[in-house]
Every structure is written in structure tokens, then in C-alpha cells.
Amino acid sequence: MNLIPGLIGIAAIAAYSYLFLHAESQGAVLGLVALAAVGVPILGRFGWIGQASRSLENNQAAGRVVIAVALAALVWLFREENFAMLMVASVLFYTVACLGLTVQFGYAGVVNFAGAAFLGVGGYTSAMLAPHLPHVLVLAIGGLLAALVGSILILPILRTRGHYAALITVAFGILFRQFVEVNDALGGPQGLQVKGMSLFGWDLNSPIGEFSFYTNYVVAGLALTALAFILVRRLERSWVGLNLDAVRLDETACAVFGIDVARWKILAFTFGNFFAGVAGAAYAMMTGFVAPNSFTFADSLIMVSIILLGGLGNAWGVALAAAIMLVLPEKLQALQEYRFLLYAVLVIVILMARPQGLIPRRSREYFS
């Protein structure tokens, strides 16, 4: 099958992203939102979206090149715009963290309503360690510490099911926020300053020429996201992913077939928290500070909303939903005050009208 529909699809998405990031007036932003809300269902009705995605699936290598080119073009066009680049970088780091949650919720079916807490573990790690250690190491330690902190919860999570397991992570998320708020060594309610990232001698906080310094973070974020993306996609396609899916769908049947349910749940939970920790460490270095108020229960809810909105278990959906959830309220200044209400209503509408998410995960295909 030819590459043309996929090419047109990616070009259309890139053009839309450009217009959206560029739109200044509220009228233009609202017009673009309306365009997407009306246009996407119409394109879907004509079968064009299906055609484009099939075309990309059949030409995976070429598709990747096209996507990389489109991304590079977008970054190039906005290289001097602080605000646009900050938003893109935030979307990228949130995508990494939410890919971690996807492994937990979407593959193994382990619920985690404390995503922001694990993001916070990474953030506070980079606040404490960034002045002393190479930053690649700090990112890794941020992830490892998040995984380690998460391992406290493994025993209660393995022993409980359903709502009881949900409570454990909800309680942990609140516990974490209260803990950093009252802990003076971690800066209390004011939080801590974080040093800017520097990778292999490249200081990301010093802009290159006229570029915004956030462009550096976008490049680093793209590298991190690509890495996380490849890892998660490989994991999904591998026998490990198959085991995780089996654990989610029917624990009893798994146990009967000799699949170690506990082992796969632990793996998925640890893996996901590691991602959140790495993303949190990188995000904190970009924004320059960490404070308890950035890691509230509401933030965890936003992360869960992202993965559900995108389509549970779908890595592409995560990126799309992260972009919608993070960029839309920033762009709609008139709605800035109402953004949490907007989130909440949006998620409720999605859950009522399209519970499978924007891009539902497809079933496995082994013989194509």
C-alpha cells in the first residue's frame, strides 16, 4: 500500500499543530478547536483516518522518518518562541510519565492514582542531586528512586484488588504531598530550587544564538520520549507484553496457565514508576523548582485522564491526549480560570460518549 495517505495525514496534523501553537487571538483558538471537533468525525466518516493509519502501519520505517521530519520542522519553526517551546517540552515530559502509567493501567491492569507522587520523587531527587552528580545519572537515579519508593506499595497492591488497590495509591499520593509539605529538609511548602539540566557538558539553560533555551529542552525531551516510546512499544509486542495483557484480562486463568501474576504486576508497576521518576527529574530541571503544590492529587488525576482520554494502552493516544490536556487550557486564556472544570467535564463527556478513548488500542496482529 502506498505512503501517500499517511504522508498527507502527518502533514495535516503538523499543519494543525503549527496553526494551533501559533494562534494568538481567542477567536482563532476557538475556531481551531471547533474545526477539529467537526472535522475529525467527518474525516473518520469518509474512512480517511483509517486509510492514513493503515498506510503508516504498512510503511513503518518510512512513517518514522516522515514523523521525525515533521517534528523537526515544527521545532524549527518555533525555535525562538519561549512559550510554545515550554508547552511542547511539558507535553513531551508528561508523555514519558504517562507512558509509564500506560504500562501499569493499560497493560498489566495495576491501578496507580499516585502518578504525580512518583513524578515528585523524581523532581525532588533532581533538586537534591543535580548540583553534585552528572545529570544523566541524576535522571537515572530519579527513576530508580521512584521505583524504589513504589516498591513500598508492592505488598499491599499485590494483596488487594479493585477499589481496595485504588485506595492504596490514592492514600499514598496524598501522603507524599503532605510529607514534602511538612518536611523542612525538602523545603516545606515553598519547595526547592533545581539546577538547570546539562548533558555531557551541554548546558541546556544557555540558549544557542537567538533560539529559546526551551528549544534545548524540547530536543532533550524528544530524545527521552523517543526512547520511552520505543521501549514501551517493544515491550507491548514482546512476550512480556503478552503476559501483562493476560494478567490484566484474567488473573485466575493466568495462574492456571502457570503465569506468575505477582511477578508481572511488580514488573509493570516498577517499570511505570521508573518512567514517571525520570520524567519528573527532567521536568523539574526545566522549570527550575519543585514544590508540593505541583504534585497534588489533582495532578495525578490529570495523568490518569490523559491515558484514558488517549485510549487505554495506546502509546500514540498518550501523546495526543497529553497535547490536548496540557496545551488547550494554556491557549484558551479566557478559560484559564476554568481549566480544571474544563478538564473534568471533558473527561466525563469522553467517558460517557467514547469510553474506549480517542485512539482505541488495536488488538494484536501476529500474522500480518
Partner: protein, 311 residues
């Protein structure tokens, strides 16, 4: 430690416990009839408290001065309005999603809670700021040595226990209660027996939400201040209490409520006494850590959920 001070802590803990228990009973009722967790429960409580406050302001405007009459009207209006809200939520949001995965319902109600919270913050006049709640109960106090017993606390404690007892009586002694228990036990069979399923669910949600509104008003009368986010923490605590007690069991919910209050009090009093230098602000950290540890020990709560008998 001074006995009077200890008594003060116990009195405070009991007060918190009864409010938590009232919230937890709501969670457990909803879980009983529909097997779902309605996470917006805490924010329904906030709506109840704010309805009470608005009623008070309205009563002042039309010139009603008697505090007892004011309290009476505030409670009636708050409970009725919030009960109605609870029934609306059940009818239009929860019942249509009954067959969806539990995760979706949990997220839906979490988001509904966020929406209610934001509505209070944005649409109540200056809703983002804490609001003073009127002192309507008699402020007399009885000094017993170094321990002062405040009359309003005694009234609130009595009212809370009375409300829980009333709900318990409704469930065990009335036809509605029988229907609720039947639906909780087996919805399918209950329907075959001619029980109007939807109506029972709506009434259960109204009952639980009304109880939450009463808890919200009591919370306001106790602290003399309410703000738009009281429901978030109270909701999580109520959920914890219901789960620690064992979901679906009304005694478990009451037990869990008082247990959580006891944990917080211990965290505030005992921890700084044992480990000097540890501020009492760690009380919630301590309480939630114990809850997590407890769940590892008793995964289905103190009074384990049984399919044969719920609610």
C-alpha cells in the same frame, strides 16, 4: 501528660470520628447497592456545607433571628438539596455507566468531584476564599478540672451519632431498608421480586448524600469555617474509613471512621511525644501510612465483604 489535655484530644478525636463515620457510611451504602465507589462524595459534602451557608445568609436577610430555628432550617435545606443532587448524579451519571469497567466509574466520579469543587470555587461568590461559618449552637462550656466540655461539641456529637443511628434504623427496620438490602444482596433477584431497582438506587444515593450534607454542616459548625476544598480530604478519609472497615458494611464504616480519627489523634499527640522534634503536622502522613500498611495485612478490611450480607 495532663489528664485534661488528654480529654480534650479524646473529645476532638470523637468529633472527627463521627464526621468521618458519616461520610464513610455514604460510601458503603453506594457500594452496597451498586458495587461502585462514588468518589465525588466528599465534594457533595462541600456542596451541602455551602448550601447550608447560603441558607443561613438567606435567613438573615429575611430576618429570622432564632439560632435554633436557623440551624433547623439550614439542616433541612442542605440535606434536601444535597440529597436531590445525589439522586441526580445517580440517575444521569452513575446508572448509565453501570456496566462500564470499575476504573471508568471511579474516574468519572473523581472528575465529577473535581467539577463540583470547581463549581463551588468559581460560582459561589468569592468561593476561592475560606468562608466563616456562623456559630449557631450555644457556646456554654462546663469546666471539669483542666478539661472544658463545650456544649456545642456535645450537641454535634449527639446529632452525628443520632443521624447514623437513624440511617441504621431506616436500613434495618423499614420497607425501603429492606429493598436496599435486597438490591445489595442480589439486584437481579430483587427486580424479579418486584422491587423498583432504579428507585431504590436513587433513594439510596439521596440518603447517603443527605447524610454527607449533614456532616458538612456539622463540620462547618465545629470549625466555624468552610472552604471549597474541604471535601477532597474528607472524601479520601471517608473512603479510607469505609475500606478499612470493610466495604458494604455499615458497622465497618463507623468503626473505620473512628479508627481513622484515632490514628490522626495518635499521630498528632503520641508521635511528637515519642520522637521529640517530629512535628505533629505528620499526623496525616502517619494515618495514611498506617492505612496502607493495614491494607497489606487485611486486604478486604476489618469486617470482610461478604456476598451474602452487605449494607
Amino acid at each position: 501528660m495532663d489528664v485534661g489535655l488528654l480529654g480534650q484530644y479524646v473529645a476532638n478525636g470523637l468529633m472527627l470520628g463521627v464526621i468521618y463515620a458519616m461520610v464513610a457510611v455514604g460510601f458503603t451504602l453506594f457500594f452496597g447497592v451498586l458495587d461502585i465507589i462514588k468518589f465525588s462524595h466528599g465534594d457533595v459534602l462541600t456542596v451541602g456545607a455551602f448550601t447550608g451557608l447560603a441558607t443561613f445568609i438567606g435567613l438573615q436577610m429575611i430576618g429570622v433571628a432564632s439560632p435554633w430555628f436557623q440551624v433547623f432550617i439550614i439542616i433541612i435545606v442542605a440535606v434536601a438539596a444535597t440529597g436531590f443532587l445525589g439522586a441526580l448524579i445517580a440517575k444521569y451519571l452513575v446508572l448509565p455507566l453501570r456496566s462500564a469497567p470499575p476504573l471508568n466509574i471511579l474516574l468519572l466520579t473523581l472528575m465529577l468531584g473535581a467539577a463540583l469543587r470547581e463549581c463551588v470555587r468559581l460560582f459561589y461568590p468569592q468561593g476561592a476564599n475560606p468562608k466563616p461559618f456562623p456559630r449557631l449552637l450555644p457556646q456554654d462550656s462546663l469546666a471539669l478540672g483542666s478539661f472544658t466540655l463545650r456544649l456545642d461539641n456535645v450537641i454535634l456529637l449527639g446529632a452525628g451519632i443520632g443521624a447514623i443511628a437513624a440511617v441504621h434504623l431506616v436500613i434495618t427496620r423499614t420497607r425501603l431498608g429492606l429493598a436496599i438490602r435486597a438490591v445489595a444482596q442480589d439486584a437481579e433477584t430483587a427486580r424479579i421480586m418486584g422491587i423498583h431497582f432504579d428507585r431504590v438506587v436513587l433513594l439510596t444515593f439521596a440518603l447517603g448524600s443527605g447524610l454527607a450534607a449533614l456532616a458538612g454542616v456539622m463540620n462547618g459548625l465545629y470549625y466555624n469555617e468552610i472552604n471549597f476544598s474541604i471535601g477532597l480530604l474528607l472524601g479520601v478519609i471517608g473512603f479510607s474509613a469505609a475500606v478499612v472497615g470493610g466495604l458494604g458494611n455499615i458497622y465497618g464504616a463507623i468503626l473505620g471512621g473512628f479508627l481513622f480519627a484515632a490514628l490522626q489523634t495518635i499521630g498528632a499527640v503520641l508521635l511528637p511525644a515519642i520522637f521529640p522534634g517530629l512535628p505533629s503536622a505528620y499526623k496525616d502522613v502517619f494515618a495514611f501510612a498506617v492505612v496502607i500498611g493495614f491494607m497489606a495485612w487485611r486486604p478486604t478490611g476489618l469486617i470482610a465483604e461478604r456476598t451474602a450480607e452487605r449494607v
